[in-house]
């Protein structure tokens, strides 16, 4: 009674073909990157050793290791986190728990979108004009980290807000009905139930911050400094800028070195993102409501 007509068969055939086409398009986005990663591993892998990671650069950066750049990146990330996480979490709390749907909230949301969308080099100009010159921090870890903090603020805000909003409204209502204030509700109910989601956002921010180059070029990262930073007002080397420097600015660098730096940098970033994703999947599985 319901035999397939020629029309049906044709439709199914078109559907199959389109499905393949879209699958191919998806693969075309992912495969080149997989290939590139392969090349990085093959050509950068031999460069990596304990010595490479934990010694000073030598002979005008054509030999030796990347220790000051690694340590510098850790400094930059930690200071940036200290500056941006409290502000980001507060902003997310406001948007998720307090903000009415009015013009101000829309303006805040638009500002967040724009903070994420403004070119990184414009953030660099801002950091130079504001932190280095106006606030007189000089070219220092502090200025560079604050620039990074402003730039990556949207990452924390968006991740935290999403995490807060997964806590069901009923949880809050139950708490309010017991006579708790908004803040008591947030501290006892909302934050404990969303803290792991906030952590995911922080890990993502670490990943973003450690890879950025342009914002730190003029605010605190140096091409070459053969010693480790002692405090937040020192300049520092950084992994991302080091990759740029030894692959474009310094002559006669042996080929395996920039590949090694690129491999270390990308491994750091992808590992952070991987952890964040694994964490999220685990949490989703564990959720009781």
């Amino acid at each position: 009674m319901f035999e397939a007509t020629a029309q049906n068969r044709r439709n199914l055939k078109v559907e199959g073909l389109l499905r393949l086409l879209f699958l191919w398009m998806t693969c075309m986005l992912i495969l080149p990157v997989a290939l590139i990663l392969g090349v990085l591993i093959v050509r950068g892998g031999p460069a990596i050793s304990w010595e490479f990671l934990f010694t000073q650069p030598m002979n005008n950066m054509t030999a030796g290791g990347i220790l000051p750049a690694l340590v510098g990146t850790v400094w930059l990330v930690v200071v940036a986190l200290i500056a941006s996480v409290p502000v980001g979490v507060a902003a997310a709390l406001y948007l998720s728990e307090y903000a009415p749907d009015n013009r101000l909230t829309r303006a805040i949301n638009l500002a967040i979108i724009n903070l994420a969308g403004v070119p990184s080099i414009v953030h660099a100009l801002f950091g130079l004009g504001a932190f280095v010159i106006f606030f007189r921090f000089g070219t220092s870890i502090l200025a560079a980290s604050l620039t990074l903090a402003v730039m990556t603020l949207p990452v924390v805000i968006v991740a935290t807000r999403e995490s807060l909003q997964t806590v069901p409204l009923a949880f809050r209502e139950a708490c309010w009905n017991m006579g708790a204030t908004r803040w008591q509700t947030i501290r006892k109910i909302v934050l404990p139930n969303s803290i792991s989601g906030i952590l995911t956002g922080v890990i993502l921010e670490v990943s973003r911050t450690s890879g950025e180059t342009a914002p730190i070029m003029f605010t605190g990262a140096a091409f070459f400094l053969p010693f480790l930073p002692q405090g937040v007002l020192d300049q520092t080397m950084a992994m991302s800028l080091h990759l740029f420097v030894i692959s474009t600015q310094v002559p006669d660098v042996p080929e395996h070195m920039p590949f090694g730096v690129a491999l270390v940098l990308i491994s750091m970033v992808l590992a952070m993102n991987g952890i964040s994703i694994a964490f999220r999947v685990y949490l989703r599985g564990r959720k009781k409501w």
């Binding site: 879209f22 406001y94 728990e97 070119p119 660099a124």
Partner: protein, 317 residues
């Protein structure tokens, strides 16, 4: 809190703490506005001297001669830089818009279960690769490849930077486009399927038109990303001032010019001010792009709210 709760009822410590926190988090929320305004104020402050004293609208937008270091007659024509940015971004979009939309349709409408989750995670990981690594890939992998395949003398050109930028922008565009497809209520799909439409008919005749605004927004954000990308373009585009006539010409982008030259200028000089003026231009253009994208996203959401299923209860009390 409604008015029936008299103010005198509870002004205990908890009440005051609650107030204080409310003000604190409001300050956090306002900080986003403060920062975006601060960016504009501080780059304008550094660029103002140049804008008022030296800036010549016709020269800036009409002349391809960018020779700020010339000792007798420095010129500040940004046309070639704008053309450089536009050509690289244009090629990147040509490559990545169809593929991103295709990938979004596959992930959102065709893939299911584990395949779908895996693809989403992979796309998210792609978006995480730092731009300096992309630039390095352009320099060390794409460059020899282009020289070999197309038999051209230099492989750092519009093609190289365009492909790199396309690969960079694609994950973001895919994610946002997929969100836009997901925002189309299932009732639309169910209604179409009930009429006997096949999956691709549902996708093309119902879902894509309904998600149109979101897809436009995804493309706009991709353009914004390409426009503002710095390190990758600096390293892969060849960085020579040119009005490009073919994909194999080297070009220089607005962003790359700032990154390459700012370190060598004296604060307060014309050259320094000119670079900040490029920054102001970049800021205004990306602001406009993001604003437009936001308007499109908002328009899309409102449409579905009106015609589709009623929205889930908001988390905001």
């Amino acid at each position: 809190m409604p008015d029936v709760a008299h103010a005198a009822d509870r002004r205990d410590a908890a009440w005051w703490i609650d107030r204080a926190v409310q003000i604190l988090v409001l300050a956090g929320g306002l900080s986003a506005i403060v920062f975006i305004a601060g960016i504009f104020v501080f780059i304008t402050r550094e660029g103002a001297g140049f804008v008022f004293d030296r800036f010549d609208f016709r020269e800036f937008f009409g002349s391809p001669r960018w020779t700020p270091t010339s000792s007798h007659n420095p010129t500040y024509g940004a046309l070639a830089l704008i053309a450089g940015t536009a050509s690289v971004t244009g090629l990147a979009m040509l490559v990545s818009v169809p593929f991103s939309l295709g990938a979004a349709i596959y992930i959102g409408e065709f893939a299911t279960g584990r395949v779908r989750e895996t693809l989403k995670v992979l796309v998210e990981l792609l978006a995480a690769i730092p731009s300096v690594v992309w630039g390095f890939i352009g320099l060390s992998i794409m460059n020899p490849l282009i020289i070999q395949v197309f038999d051209v003398p230099v492989g750092l050109n519009v093609l190289n930077a365009g492909v790199i930028l396309g690969l960079m922008a694609a994950p973001i565009m895919t994610t946002i486009a997929e969100d836009a497809l997901k925002a189309v209520p299932d009732t639309y799909r169910e209604a179409a399927e009930a009429m006997g439409a096949t999956r691709w008919q549902v996708t093309f005749k119902v879902v894509l038109p309904a998600a149109r605004n979101g897809l436009v927004a995804a493309t706009l954000l991709g353009v914004g990303r390409g426009f503002g990308e710095t390190m990758a373009v600096l390293m892969a585009s060849g960085h020579s001032i040119n009005l490009p006539t073919s994909p194999f010409d080297s070009v220089r982008a607005l962003t790359a010019t700032i990154a390459a030259e700012l370190g060598e200028t004296a604060a307060g000089s014309d050259h320094y001010g000119a670079l900040f003026t490029l920054g102001i231009f970049l800021f205004l253009v990306t602001f406009a792009i993001n604003f437009a994208a936001d308007v499109f996203v908002r328009g899309g959401q409102r449409k579905h709210r009106r015609r589709g299923r009623r929205p889930a209860a908001s988390a905001n009390p």
